[in-house]
Amino acid sequence: MPNETNGAAPGGAAAHNDGFAGLRLVPRSDTTYKMKDFKSDQEVRWCPGCGDYAILAAFQSFLPELGVPRENIAIVSGIGCSSRFPYYLTTYGMHSIHGRAPAVATGLAASRPDLSVWVITGDGDGLSIGGNHLIHALRRNVNINVLLFNNRIYGLTKGQYSPTSEPGMITKSSPMGSLDSPFNPVSLALGAEATFVARTVDSDRKHLQGVLRAAADHQGASFIEIYQNCPIFNDDAFEPLKDAGERDSRLLRMEHGAPLRIGADRGVVQGDYGELSVADVAEVGEDRLVRHDAHRADPGYAFALSRLDRPAFEHVPIGVFRDVDAPSYDERMAEQLAEAETTQGRGDLAGLLASGDTWTVR
């Protein structure tokens, strides 16, 4: 009857992890895993050529790096093509409700600090029906990693425009062009003051895994936008960023401490009011280029960076926009519980029931 599970997890012992900072309350594994250890026996049922395959493979081959027992990893998804993800992994998982994965994951992560919790969502799931949950999970800094697969279209419902589709896009539900102004997912996450925000591309495994690594090393909520190709309803949406001849002149590969450069000729400079713009290096000089600082406490700089890709894809920052330290929600919640127990003593049910004005009938 006694409740021994106040702070610790019901399933696993609390242990210290000396690896990634975001996993410091998660036990370390004695087993050395390989990619195949994370592949489930379920048949993967995405369309041929879907970007989700590449992301899944990159994720499966990254998971052994975490150094966490497989049973301490939980993948929570919503509804949509990307949300089938958990079925293809051998970890614990829940394929939940359209848009609600951040809420479900919040309950799981807040009550189980010993788990590494990953949320898989898409642009429709995470930004439309579930937009509210996403921003609140981010502002609370719940210790979860959100992977938002952005293909700029609704796939599973067969091709309607999404909250990231470009204005005027012709789709099944917008035969005369979409009237919506799209979200920039990175701007949105920064607006919610997410403590870790990054962007990567499905086809660049090295970059994708680098961003996953950085997310795992972040304590609290991590938000990663992954540009993902939908070959059926929005094929080649990100082609300019993938084409070998074009991508180097468009991608702004952000690295903390390094100058922000796009290809050989261009770079990012800061104006008098803190605004960022792209300039010819030859004109402004090397010294004026902004050195990327992902650790700035104020999200304004990262937000300015997130606005650089307008008009779409002319110059697109990828990498980590923001990575700042802040206590995570589950950690602070556990602290309150511990504090209550320290100051008031462990709860005693009989004492609780008899608190307040009582009287005795003999």
């Binding site: 009857m1 599970t5 998982g93 939940s96 409700i97 309950g107 010993d114 509210n132 009582t358 009938v361």
Partner: protein, 617 residues
């Protein structure tokens, strides 16, 4: 002078005033005094949803009714014997409920021309003889309070605000209430404001002294303690009892409690209460909306917590999809719906029983969920423990239908012996249950049909849950027609099977020869019980039964229904239980319904009951 003390067996007092007059506090203090004196009691707070409606208007009237007695009572009473009206609006809003000959105490200071006009009184009812059929006491409560406090260094406004304590002092004298509790309460409440504390204590004392000295009140009354069963008692509201029941459920099951909730009237008090008890390992999460509240609770349940969400009707609607996911993933989840008058926003602070069919059927697909309903404020404790038992044993969401009347109403509660509460210990699954060390998350216990609950962190049992139809045993995604049919029927059979595990319906039929059964559910127990007593006192014969388990019904319900010639089903909705009973048992029950945001009155129900009895003869 020595005043006469008259013995009475029970009394109903209603305090009524402006929302800002402190009527709920006054009523609550009088209740605590009455409880500690040892009377049986029942209360009915009634207040507007607006926090401070315009002063002196009818919508701003707040009231608190208390019924106490020297014997066991069941309701807050039909009609007040004493009405305390702090202003003309309070008089106007309440006087129609007051029977001839009852005492009406009015604060004459507030009966100004302006205040009278505000609520449509053409002339002053205190002076124009329109209150002649009542025992009217005109007391200038405000000015007497101000006068009593003239030596204190406080503003006139602060002095006026203490008038509720003057009124409480007067009534406490009139009914010979013990005062230590209230004095202690005021000292604690204003510990940081010594002047205000002293002023309130003085106002209370002045009210008491006024009763003792004035010739307006020649008589005081005494209501002897009620002979309740031996034990330690406290007064408790339904919301507090549910909170304690949930804490008990967590302690008894060994599952840490996780509450995901969004503030909503009249359920928010449960969130407030549970957030105070972190030393029990309770995590409370005030979510961004109703959906996130239940979603987080389900996520925590996946992780091995006792997941709870609390809400009222409009929130229940939003939680439906997640309750569906909980029943598909077959995880324990407690959903507490403190019902209020609907539809839509309805009347947030008024009671109703109209969420029953939503609880039963308000989800897509075949989606059976156990439904329980407490029958009194104190019963909320037992129901919360029972809901925990069913959820944990059967791995299912459970809906508890409390209501606004139970939530805010109170009654004495005999504290349970903690050692005698049921052992609800949950054993998580830690070993594979299939061939070759495989784990089959949907391989069921043959008796309960519950599936294993293996929580993240358990090596070797990694599995995936979700809302897509599951293959029997493996839990993998399945669109196979025969499997879906099997799973739909199995989920239904699991919930139906709970009937084997709940007590038979208690039928109160003392003579054993009643022809008429009155059957209720949830918060109407007190009113129906009081009506049954009236009928029996008048020589009538009637049986009473009350459902606390609604889905599944007790196994013997059909047999009980068929034993009686007529079955009357009173409900504060348009006949939702009646519909279920007719559909399930083909018994033509007589539905009696009312939806005015208030509990039934015992007298009214007794009349209906008598009519049904007369028809049966």
């Amino acid at each position: 002078m020595t005043k006469q003390v008259q013995q009475i067996d029970r009394v109903i007092i209603r305090f009524a005033g402006d929302s800002g007059d402190g009527m709920q506090l006054t009523g609550d203090r009088f209740t605590q005094e009455t409880a500690s004196f040892g009377n049986d009691l029942s209360t009915l707070p009634n207040f507007p949803a607006e926090i401070r409606a315009p002063a002196g208007t009818l919508p701003g009237v707040s009231s608190f009714q208390l019924h106490f007695a020297d014997h066991d009572i069941m309701t807050p009473g039909d009609a007040p014997n004493v009405l305390v009206a702090m202003n003309p609006a309070a008089l106007k809003a309440n006087i129609d409920d007051v029977p001839n000959g009852a005492m009406v105490i009015v604060n004459t200071d507030e009966f100004t021309k302006r205040n009278l006009t505000k609520v449509g009184y053409g002339s002053n009812p205190v002076e124009d003889g329109s209150l002649a059929e009542f025992k009217l006491s005109s007391v200038p409560l405000t000015s007497m309070t101000v006068k009593a406090l003239e030596d204190f260094e406080i503003s006139k406004k602060d002095a006026e605000r203490a008038k509720n304590m003057f009124a409480l002092g007067l009534l406490s004298w009139m009914y010979n209430r013990p005062t230590e509790g209230t004095l202690g309460f005021l000292k604690a409440k204003f510990a940081n404001k010594p002047v205000i504390m002293a002023a309130n204590l003085a106002a209370f004392q002045a009210g008491w002294n006024f009763g003792e000295t004035t010739e307006d009140f020649a008589v005081s009354y005494e209501v002897k303690p009620a002979p309740l069963p031996p034990g330690t008692y406290r007064n408790i509201t339904g919301n507090l009892a549910i909170s304690y029941g949930l804490i008990a459920g967590s302690q008894l099951s060994g599952l840490p409690l996780f509450l995901g909730s969004y503030p909503i009237t009249p359920a928010s008090d449960i969130l407030h209460e549970l957030s105070k008890h972190k030393r029990f390992g309770i995590r409370t999460f005030q979510a961004e909306d109703e959906i996130a509240g239940v979603g987080a609770a389900l996520g925590a349940a996946f992780g091995g917590a006792l997941g709870v969400t609390t809400t009222s009707g409009p929130g229940m609607v939003l939680k439906a999809e997640t309750i569906g996911l909980a029943l598909m993933t077959e995880l324990p989840l407690l959903v507490i719906d403190v019902q209020r008058a609907g539809p839509s926003t309805g009347m947030p602070t008024k009671t109703e029983q109209s969420d029953l069919l939503m609880a039963m059927f308000g989800r897509n697909g075949e989606s059976p969920v156990p439904v329980l309903a407490p029958r009194s404020p104190a019963d909320c404790f037992d129901i919360a423990v029972e809901a925990t038992r069913i959820a944990a044993t059967y791995r299912t969401p459970v809906i508890v239908l409390s209501d606004g009347y139970l939530a805010n109403g109170s009654e004495p509660w005999r504290l349970p012996d903690v050692e005698n509460l049921p052992d609800l210990t949950v054993e998580f699954t830690t070993e594979p249950n299939g061939d070759d060390g495989a784990f089959l998350p949907y391989q069921r216990d043959p008796e309960t049909l519950a599936r294993p609950w293996a929580v993240p962190g358990t090596p070797g049992l990694e599995h995936r849950l979700g809302g897509i139809e599951k293959s029997d045993g493996t839990g993998n995604i399945s669109y196979t027609p025969s499997n879906h049919d099997l799973m739909v029927r199995t989920r239904q059979a699991k919930i139906d099977g709970i009937a084997r595990d709940i007590p038979p319906l208690e039928v109160d039929d003392p003579s054993g020869d009643a022809d008429v059964l009155v059957l209720g559910w949830g918060g109407t127990y007190g009113s129906i019980g009081a009506a049954v007593r009236r009928v029996r006192r008048a020589g009538g014969t009637v049986a009473q039964a009350h459902l606390r388990h609604i889905n599944p019904f007790p196994a013997d319900l059909g047999e009980v229904l068929r034993r009686y010639d007529r079955v009357l089903v009173p409900e504060i909705n348009l006949g939702q239980l009646a519909l279920l009973l007719r559909g399930r048992f083909l018994v033509d029950v007589i539905s009696y319904t009312k939806v005015n945001g208030l509990p039934f009155k015992a007298e009214e129900l007794a009349g209906v009951l008598q009519e049904v009895i007369d028809r049966a003869e």
